[in-house]
Amino acid sequence: MHDIISQTGLSKDAAASSCAVEMTGISKSFGDVRALDDIAFSLQAGEVRALVGENGAGKTTLMNILYGIYAADEGVIRLGGREIPHSWSPREAIRAGIGMIHQHFALISNHTVLENIVMPLLKWREISPSWKSHAKRVSEICREYHFQIDLQSRVEDLSMGERQQVEIVKALYQGAKVLILDEPTSVLTPQQTEALFRFLLILKKRGHSVVLVTHKLDETMQISDRITVLRGGKLIGTIEREQANPQIIARMMIERDWIARLKVAPLPDSAAVVLKVRNLSLNNEQGIRVLDDLSFHVRAGEIVGVAGVAGNGQVELSDALVGLRRVQQGAVEIEGINSTRHTVLQRRKAGLVFIPEDRHHRGVVLDMDIAENIVLNTISEKPYSRYGVLRSQVITDCAEEAISAYSIKTPGCRVPVGNLSGGNQQKIVMARALLREPRIIIACQPTRGLDFGATEYVRKKLLECAQRGIGILLISSDLDEILELSHRILVMFSGKIVSDLPVDRVNLDQLGLLMAGHGRNNQLD
């Protein structure tokens, strides 16, 4: 990776040329929330710019305004010195040479790669598009940048990395001179990330500008020429990479110093096994084997990290453990009791709780208030209800307690959870999971989408739980998180566990290879 860094560095000629993009005085509010406040942002041709900040800092919003998805409340945008018209939309942005690749890809998964790439260029009057010549030109672009995508395959059949390539080719095919990438590495393996960065450098050499929206400091340092930091909707500053280091940027992002890594306490050998999984196999609705003969165990007070690129069976594994899906083979034992046939409720009563991956759909009920969400699992039990009637005061007290214990930022406990930030929502999920002291926590992507402060809070809480003797299965695609918190790391690939090692025996490169499906089997104990 070091050779990549040595290739960066902004050419002075490019800097002297006119600004490709100049945004001044940009403000935007969503309801009462001021998402952007008087932001200035300019971008030169041939520059790779990192736009960093915590979640909710306004990075994506700023770029969405540039791309015409949102309209700014105030401010001026100039492209190549010319002010943009009032009716700015993605259509005009595309025409002006701006391409944006969202974190959630804007691809039609049911359509083919070629259709996705060509569609934005088609005019309404273009009754009979010349697909052959489009295909030819798209293939040329793919060759030029060493992308290998089958133009006729459906997007839904592609991996996340391939989908990102489709998005990039789409933007280039539309003639993008400025390419905005929103958290591009969040779905990639380390190897894929490296390939992406190599491609971005080629792009830069050809005079394109790149904006990398990210919250990962390593990436920022690795590839960008300059770094712009936003915090809470305000511009903090822009610095040259040469003058920056992770500590400086982190301080700009979070208003406090780089926090030392958390450390998990060593585990006593005598700890009892609380969760045991034997030869677990599961087929999905299409009959495809998504979990293939998994065996592992979690001991009391142990954090077992499950690493892997999203979509390799992690969701199915957590569903199977919690009791949301019926397995075809194998057994799940909770504290020595075979619970394979038990329902979600029975397992919860046995002490197994769940922090689901999809917070909005499974974690909280957005329209219900905080108190209701916190007691949701125990609502039919004493003391929260008596003879089937809810006891409002008890529930409110319980919620107030949780709000102060977890420092949930809210005007009151009867506020709909949908009004809270992601971090506070996750705190509610945690509060509910820990309401009755559990024996096992299945935590899926517990910090995904959370900002720095909330992430740290959640991780500390998990460590606390482990110290109290709760066994934790931590499923996460954030390798740092896994390395930081786990005693032991399992790597999942294609529904199998391809590695099971104590944390002190793994290294990052190895993990990346395992996650990408290389070197399976030879690492298994």
Binding site: F30, P90, I94, A106, S109, N110, H111
Partner: protein
């Protein structure tokens, strides 16, 4: 059944299928663009009345059709304003609109009857009809093929389908989702109205309160069975038409059995097709209002 039953059976099938085809195509069009078209029943009913009134008051079948189309366009624009521009819930709006349409058409029909008693009588057979088949039949089949070609072979078709699959992605690709969906829904409503005109002008030559009697909903089911593919949706309409034609023929043939069993045939057939068709994949973004922040 006597000899020579096949031709009349096919004719009866096509007669019953024609109005359904227009409506099913309108549902396919609207839902491919991402808007649920529950209002098809109400627009069909309004189109049925408008067509008849056009014929009675202006004395020409084609003026009737034009008037019906016009009413369809206006109602489509109204629906589009409510469900796409505002936007309100598409299903609730559609249901309320159907009730509204039932009330208004009955009311207008009675007003019209007081002005001119001829709206109560049969209107003339549509010119160009042969063997009891109106030109609507040909138009329906031509439109089916055209719609299929348009949806799956043209640039605009691809853009419309993209909008139905993922409105936000379509917007990111430079499509003005709100305006386009409004136009599509308006055009779709005109098609639904044409289905109503095919019923009154092209088939039974008269109007009564609620004459469509759920045929719009059957078209909705046909679009579902046909997996939002115009060719398959039309095939489903023809199948339902055949079921209806068969029901009466079976009743005539099967003396002594309770007629209610035979009258169930078309509905059982529909249920069967829905069951056999399995879970068709709807356009992914259908029914979700698009809001630009």
């Amino acid at each position: 059944m006597s000899e020579g039953w096949l031709a009349p059976f096919l004719l009866a099938t096509l007669r019953a299928a024609t109005p359904l085809i227009f409506c099913a195509l309108s549902v396919v069009l609207a839902e491919r663009a991402g808007v649920i078209h529950i209002g098809v029943e109400g627009v069909m009913l309004a189109g049925a009345l408008a067509g008849l009134l056009g014929v009675v008051f202006w004395g020409d079948a084609y003026v009737g059709i034009l008037f019906s189309l016009l009413v369809g366009l206006i109602l489509g624009l109204l629906l589009a304003l409510i469900t796409v521009y505002l936007p309100s819930d598409q299903v609730v709006t559609g249901i309320v609109f159907n009730i509204f349409s039932l009330g208004v058409t009955s009311f207008i029909f009675r007003l019209a009857a007081e002005k001119n008693a001829a709206v109560q009588a049969l209107i003339p057979v549509m010119p160009g009809s042969v063997f009891g088949l109106s030109p609507f039949m040909v138009l329906a089949l031509v439109l089916t093929v055209f719609m299929w070609w348009f949806m799956f072979r043209t640039g605009p078709g691809l853009k419309i389908r993209s909008m139905g699959e993922d409105a936000h992605a379509a917007h990111a690709a430079g499509i003005n989702v709100v305006i386009t969906r409004m136009l599509i829904l308006t055009a779709a409503a005109a098609l639904s109205a044409l289905g109503g005109a095919a019923l009154t002008i092209g088939w039974v030559r008269s109007f009564t309160d609620n004459i469509t009697l759920g045929r719009g909903f059957i078209a909705l089911a046909a679009a579902y069975c046909g997996r939002w593919n115009p060719l398959l949706a039309t095939a489903a309409c023809i199948l339902f038409g055949a079921g209806e034609a068969l029901a009466f023929r079976a009743q005539a043939a099967g003396e002594g059995l309770n007629p209610h069993y035979f009258l169930m045939i078309p509905y059982l057939l529909t249920l069967l097709v829905v069951a056999v068709a399995g879970k068709g994949r709807a356009p992914a973004d259908v029914g979700r209002p698009y809001v630009r922040r």
